[in-house]
Amino acid sequence: MNTEVKIAGVTFKNPVMTASGTFGSGMEYSDFVDLNKLGAVVTKGVANVPWEGNPTPRVAEVYGGMLNAIGLQNPGIDVFMERDIPFLQKYDTNVIVNVCGKTVSDYLEVVERLCDAPISMLEINVSCPNVKEGAIAFGQKADSLYDITSQIKKKAKQPVIMKLSPNVTDITEMAKAAEAAGADALSMINTITGMKIDIHRRKFVLANKTGGMSGPAVKPVAVRMVYQTAQAVKIPIIGMGGIGSGEDAVEFLLAGASAVAVGAMNFVNPYATVEVVEGIEAYMRQYKIENVTDLIGAVE
């Protein structure tokens, strides 16, 4: 049985990654999970300088999911290079660094700093709904997405994944723009903008009023978007949205994803990533599937 997948020339021992922002840089979950067993660790977004993020409350539970408005708190690229990358280097897994910024030049600065870093890929966050400047602004208009993608591609030494927002009318238009600009892969979906109101206090639950929704409740939306996008572009897709089991992961693979990421479900089950790997293997045994790549886009 072969669980290996290749994306943009990078080999992954299995198609299971962590979704950015839910796993830090792996340190916090290394108590629970052997990081060597994962296809990749995708880090929390990092900017050129430290970001303090949003006021609290930053998280809220909703039916079958959660809202977050962390606001991309991060220590900036200097600390990240000194602390997080050396930590992850100790493990036999791919490191994918998620990059965020307020302006195009912020993104380019981080991408340039990472040129010689021992990492496998870059994931560009143009889809965070919780920061006022940058981020999602680049991911909601096809022409600005094309522009930032092509500028990053000119500087980047590693393959570039563009992380797409579901908060658009037609996600395939965004996917095509990223592909045309040279993106090597797509990851999708980032969170869906949501809101929760405390009816007893008549107040917003999140200090930011709105937050990004994730968890099992968003999975059908994510599967649909992955399927539509897989029909529209040729570059590989990393699928995510409520994945917590092997069955969930297989659904994304069948819809057309080449790999998957586990996000909010890490909070529900800190062992989720490894259990997803084992669940995919169990499915392959059950249906006598030799190569996991045979599942990609295999929905009939």
Binding site: E28, W51, G53, T56, R58, I70, F267
Partner: protein, 258 residues
């Protein structure tokens, strides 16, 4: 520090001890690693509710492998816990956070101050401290809980907001009413109480440790949901935001900007 784990714990007993307040004993080996002021995160059973609920450790019986959680029903998750009976199981994540610095209290006159649902962690703390301590408890009304348990380990003073028992007012009013003095304070309770303690401690040059709470998701320091403002740059993100679940929940009062 002990490795964090998610485990299934059997319920030994549960009873209601005051309005909306429940007293739960769980059988789990995590009890061996528990330290006063730490917490566990308890998972609801329903699939519509995903996130574990952080609940402070009230007592840890290390020999019998039992943890006591005294919690208030504050929403759907805790309402579900309150219906559990002996023999039922609950998944818990623990033990989490950094507790009170018991060793620093040696030889000092200490106030243990608890307000409302901030009272439970004071019990394990009182048990673990050998020196004489004064336990100051604040309640809404005469519906008291845990005051008899705490009386075994120190001199208990009670305040109620409606004046029905003890001093009328809050824990700060107890200090005035009895002219009490301490060299150190350890406290858990609502934010206005913690702010008053921080101010009192600063004005009187008293070392104070306070336990904070905030909405959490992961409980282990990854999601950055439960931060509080700090006076110094934090070690994780270098932006004056400490993670309550990881660097806390107990902080030296001067470290945090509340």
């Amino acid at each position: 520090m002990a490795q964090k784990k998610k485990v299934t714990a059997k319920i030994v007993s549960q009873k209601q001890i005051a309005e909306q307040i429940f007293d739960l004993w769980l059988e789990t080996k995590l009890a061996k690693e528990a330290y006063p002021g730490q917490f566990v995160a308890v998972y609801p059973h329903g699939e519509s509710m995903l996130l574990p609920r952080p609940i402070s450790i009230c007592e840890a019986d290390k020999r019998e492998n039992r943890l006591r959680l005294v919690y208030r029903v504050a929403g759907k998750g805790t309402a579900e816990f309150s219906t559990c009976k002996a023999g039922d199981q609950l998944d818990i994540l623990g033990v989490l956070g950094n507790g009170f610095p018991v060793e620093k209290a040696k030889g000092k006159r200490v106030f243990l101050m608890g307000g409302g649902i901030g009272i439970p962690p004071m019990l394990e703390l009182a048990k673990d401290m050998d020196d004489k301590k004064q336990v100051l408890l604040g309640y809404r009304n005469k519906d008291l809980f845990l005051e008899e348990d705490l009386a075994k380990y120190g001199d208990v003073y009670v305040a109620t907001e409606d004046g029905s028992v003890g001093t009328r007012g809050n824990v700060m009013d107890i200090i005035k009413a009895y002219s009490l003095h301490a060299d150190m304070i350890m406290a858990c309770g609502p934010m206005p109480m913690l702010r008053a303690i921080k101010k009192y401690a600063a004005e009187n040059g008293i070392e104070a440790y306070i336990s904070l709470e905030e909405r959490m998701a992961c409980g282990v320091g990854a999601c950055l949901g439960c931060v509080c403002k700090t006076t110094e740059e934090d070690a994780h993100s270098h932006v004056h935001n400490a993670r309550i679940c990881t660097e806390g929940p107990v902080f030296e009062a001067g470290e945090v900007d509340i």
